[in-house]
Amino acid sequence: MNLSNASASLNAILPLVVVILWACALLLVDLFITKERKGLTALLAAIGMLASLIITLARLDLEAVVFNGMVTVDGFSNFLTVLFLGSGIVAVALSYDYLKRMGLEKGEYYVLLLFTVSGMMLMAVASDLIVVFLALELLSIPLYVLAGIATPRLDSEESSLKYFLLGSFSTGIVVYGIALVFGATGTTSLAGIVDAITAGSAGMGLLVAGAAMLLIGLGFKVALVPFHMWTPDVYQGAPSSVTAFMAIGAKAAGFAAILRIFIQAFPALSVDLTPVLWVLAALTMILGNVVAIAQRNIKRLLAYSSIANAGYILLALVPYGQSDVAADSVASALFYLLAYAFTSFTAWSVVIALEQVEGKGLELEDYAGLSRRYPILALTMTVAMLSFTGVPPTLGFLGKFYVFRTLLEGGFPGLAVIGVVTSLISAYYYLRVVVYMYMREGEPQAIRDPWLYIAATASAICLVVLGIFSQPLFAWASQAMLH
């Protein structure tokens, strides 16, 4: 390969290169920013991601397979890259005032945020299991550290350690799975795995074992039941701005890997894997929604809600082996991820606005009477809860609608019924938050930070407006094919 080919390869992953170089430069620039003006670091981090976002948006129809097939840029990866960069920018907006209030302001926070965003972007384009592994580590390790950034607060340290131990454990399982897949097919490239299966040279027993290991390891990352045990403690202990980003970015990146690996490389294994996915999705929806009912702490409640939502996203993947449904699988999963991201950011920004130092202001009782003193916050939280429940015309409703439609197309009405019933169960605990805000008396305390309010109201407005005019968005998700 000559140099012009190398520069074409770099050009294809330009948004990723921009974020990584920006992170390295910011690490140096941050040294010269005084402790009182760390807002500048936050602003610079957001500008870096915005620049990368503009590059991505300017060439949304770019498609390329570069670096000897290790990287595939296609509609799928462009969609997710936009999602990750948008999440990163919103996370900076949520973090700035929160970190100052909690006394956690450090320039490295934003550098690590950029590193983890670059890991997620890499995950979106990875089409080789080696790159998948590196992306998984690049997105996880900064998150382990960010979860523990409030050290020496004990719950933050506990959260970081639990996340680190279980995260490393699950990465180990992923590596084991990659090794087994390599043993079965002699390659780590997704296209090469397909070729080996078609040529009949793959050891199918080993391959199924490897695929199962990959599913378990990535299932830990996206918090599928029964691999979800870490989620409530980690989400509760980590600083809320980190949790908000973790709940969206890490989950979307995990699903990016699952979708690409399974739909691209393992459709031939669907006979063995579809029943497994069926059971996992059903368990995740039931357990997440039922256990959430018992939660009084809003961060734990949202943690169980995120587990339940992982189940709904997994629904889209259940019929992945049917070639005529696979395209709808990808489209509805991507659309659901987008709806989930908007809804989560709305809810988490309200949580961040109400959180006080020492972990106060996080119980349901602290939300009583919110509608009187902070009507805008109460309204945005209501929109988020309705969207989580799946009430029209919010984006959350359409997300569930498209996922259930994909399931019916694939011929799994039973699972769709479980999904609808668990959605009804979830209405109980989501709407209870609304009841507290509007019908109970209380003296809630919230802060007035312009960036936080902009993030909360903007994503709430998006939830409704995009919910009503969802056609272009779904059309975009439908074009986000895997190649």
Partner: protein, 169 residues
């Protein structure tokens, strides 16, 4: 004596001397630095034996990764750098006897192995694993992306580790 033999004796003396300093140094950081010298000596032996790949691996893995990791661990865990406890304890005689017995056993085993006295086959000069490895790592057709990403990953992990462990107070 040939120049190679002189070189061998010099390097062997440095390697063994540095290894002795590792166990004798009172300061843990100094011990880690002596360990690097000792590792370096072993790398020179590999190079003298025409085992270029092993020499490079020794430098990259032992000096580059393990020794630096040890120094990092020592620097980030405070209050253990200076050790003031006595360097010899009551079982030093037993330790000496055991060490000598082990050494004698190893010498006897090596001498009684037939391969120790026969002249080895010359290496195939066409095989050049290092340059193959090098071009696989940095060629755009090979693993340059994974190689560079691994360094970004390590940088992120380094920043994170320092952020958690560094004592700011």
């Amino acid at each position: 004596m040939t120049p190679v033999q002189i070189l061998f004796i010099l390097v062997a003396a440095v390697t063994l001397g540095a290894a002795l300093m590792v166990v004798n140094a009172r300061n843990l950081v100094h011990a880690a630095l002596w360990l690097i010298v000792s590792f370096g000596g072993v790398a020179v032996f590999y190079a003298m034996l025409n085992a270029g790949f092993l020499a490079v691996a020794q430098v990259v893995i032992y000096i580059g990764a393990i020794a630096i990791l040890m120094i990092f661990a020592i620097m980030m865990t405070r209050n253990v750098a200076g050790d003031s406890s006595p360097r010899f304890n009551s079982s030093q005689i037993i330790g000496l006897v055991l060490a000598l017995a082990l050494f004698a056993g190893l010498v006897w085993m090596t001498l009684s192995w037939s391969g120790a006295t026969t002249t080895p086959m010359p290496l195939d000069s066409r095989a050049d694993p290092i340059s193959q490895l090098g071009s696989a790592l940095v060629s755009p057709d090979g693993y340059v992306l994974a190689f560079e990403l691994a360094s970004i990953l390590l940088l992120g992990a380094l920043v994170g580790a320092l952020m958690i462990a560094w004592d700011r107070k």
